[in-house]
């Protein structure tokens, strides 16, 4: 390999990284704006109408500008280094996860061989950011929120992994690209219980309503993020919406066939984005429609409903794969 080859390689890596970063900054804003408008209309309101002129399209940009201007406060009793580093730990895993999710066989920043495993492992790191934030804030509400988040994440990680394992088993591949290639419409029925389990645990993993116990404002202020202000707080919010994007795209690739669809040769990645966007709207819809679960209901749902359901799905998939082989 000559130096010229490494030069183009480096350029390609930089370009791919920049593309992922751009998607990482734009897609969560799109989801956030959609949430503003969809939630407003589901509640008989209009939502943002002024920022940017046309139906408040620039509301989140304006919010971002506001967050930048705010004072960056670190509590006196806080563990300074950990407190300031926590938002990055919450944010970066979703950036990494977005890099390996294929929008089409060609449109993928880093086509990892076992990307399904990588995505699950990496998104599980994000909880460390919440734990760090809660512990370092030196605030009882923050600590309670972090503990709730940890308990919730531990409970819901298991059904999620089992549901993804079932899909991997059905496809005979650990690569997201391979899974989407192996997908057929018949999976919509065959993997339906797993899909439901995955969606429910994804919403719980994102700490979105109805599973927003860790940030229940009427009980523990804002959980682990209580002491955060300004840009660091905005990073936590961004990580929540980036998480919705990652989980929605993952759902589209795992259960809805990703880029498969009519005219998939020309449209390709557009199909994945459209399917992912529909899932994101469903996640928003759940937030508007349902009240928050109690902590014990949350655990009961995870261990008594989702885990058995995911195990049954895994057994069903295994039996079918062996029988049809």
């Amino acid at each position: 390999m000559g130096p010229a080859v490494t030069g183009t390689d480096a350029l390609e890596v930089v370009l791919r990284a920049v593309a992922v970063l751009a998607a990482f900054l734009v897609l969560p804003l799109l989801v956030g704006q959609t949430e503003h408008k969809v939630m407003a209309h589901m509640q008989g309101r209009l939502g943002p109408m002024y920022a940017g002129g046309f139906h408040g399209w620039a509301q989140l940009v304006a919010d971002g500008v506001k967050f930048v201007q705010k004072e960056d406060i670190t509590p006196a009793a806080a563990d300074r280094g950990v407190f300031r580093f926590a938002p990055a730990v919450a944010l970066v895993p979703y950036l990494v996860a977005m890099a390996v999710i294929p929008l089409s066989p060609d449109v993928v920043a880093a086509d990892a061989p076992a990307s399904a495993v990588l995505v699950l492992a990496v998104t599980a790191v994000g909880i460390l950011g919440t734990l760090m934030a809660g512990w370092a804030s030196a605030n009882k509400y923050s600590l309670l929120g972090a503990m709730r988040a940890a308990a919730q994440l531990l409970s819901y990680e298991l059904p999620m992994v089992l549901a993804v394992a079932s899909v991997c088993l059905a496809a005979g591949s650990l690569s997201l690209t391979g899974i989407a290639h192996a997908w057929s419409p018949w999976w919509l029925l065959w993997q339906l219980p797993g899909a439901v389990v995955f969606l429910v645990s994804a919403v719980a993993e994102l700490q979105r309503p109805p599973f927003d116990m860790p940030v229940a404002d009427s009980e523990i202020v804002f959980g682990a993020y209580t002491e955060y202000t300004g840009l660091r707080f905005a990073f936590f919010l961004l990580s929540e919406y980036a998480g919705i994007v990652v989980m929605s795209l993952l759902f589209a690739v795992l259960y809805l066939g990703g880029w498969q669809g009519p005219f998939s040769d020309q449209l390709g990645w557009v199909w994945t984005v459209v399917k992912g966007f529909c899932i994101a709207v469903v996640v928003i819809w759940l937030r508007v429609a349902w009240p928050r679960l109690r902590e014990d209901q949350l655990q009961r749902l995870a261990w008594l409903v989702l885990v058995p359901l995911a195990l049954a799905q895994l057994a069903l998939t295994g039996v079918w794969v062996v029988a049809s082989a």
């Binding site: 209309h41 589901m42 309101r45 209009l46 819809w285 508007v288 349902w290």
Partner: protein, 204 residues
């Protein structure tokens, strides 16, 4: 312990958990499809009901400085200054007459609680409700409206709404339509007609 308790609510409620969950989704989806209830106030003027209590307007010509409004005001937010002027007699040998001249009439809307008692109590219809409400100020002292400002609200006072069907006749109209009362006996009150006739309005 929670197990015997838990089935009871699902029995009592109409559907159980899953229908309830789906019902929630259906309700929000239906609301999404319907037009919103938001009134876009600064862009679209609100539709105010008649008799809205926005601001109090003063018809200065009707005011006799009788001070009834200022006394009845629960907040003491009406300020009235007046002096008396003497009108010389118009007929030779007649008596000079005095009338009140209004110097200052001010309502402090930072104190006013919009009870409307001043308007109710005014015997000469000098005070009226106007539906205008956009008179907020950056300085609270600017909410003290003097009489010229109060007079400027007068054109915004709506005409009184039509009476309901079969409503009682308004007192003013009833009084005018009533046939004049006949004098009981001419001898009983001989002095009265002569004392009433030199009313100033009649001659001016």
């Amino acid at each position: 312990m929670s197990e015997p308790v838990k089935p009871q609510p699902s029995k009592r409620s109409s559907g159980g958990a899953v229908p309830g969950i789906l019902k929630g989704l259906a309700t929000t989806a239906r609301t999404l499809a319907r037009p919103t209830h938001t009134a876009e106030y600064p862009d679209v003027a609100p539709h105010l009901p008649p008799r809205s209590r926005g601001v109090i307007a003063l018809l200065e010509e009707n005011c006799t400085s009788c001070m009834l409004c200022a006394r009845e005001c629960p907040d003491w937010c009406i300020y009235i200054d007046s002096h008396k002027e003497t009108i010389p007699a118009t007929t030779p040998g007649g008596r000079d007459r005095q009338r009140n001249v209004l110097d200052r009439f001010a309502i402090d809307f930072s104190l006013c609680m919009y009870c409307g008692i001043c308007i109710e109590v005014c015997p000469f219809d000098a005070l009226h409700w106007s539906p205008e409400f956009e008179y907020s100020e950056l300085d609270i002292r600017d909410l003290l409206h003097e009489k010229d400002r109060l007079g400027q609200w007068m054109p915004t006072v709506p005409p009184p709404p039509a009476l309901d069907e079969h409503a009682a006749e308004p007192a003013e109209i009833a009084a005018t339509n009533k046939p004049a009362r006949a004098a009981r006996t001419p001898a009983a009150r001989p002095a009265r007609p002569t004392r009433v006739t030199p009313a100033p309005e009649a001659e001016a």
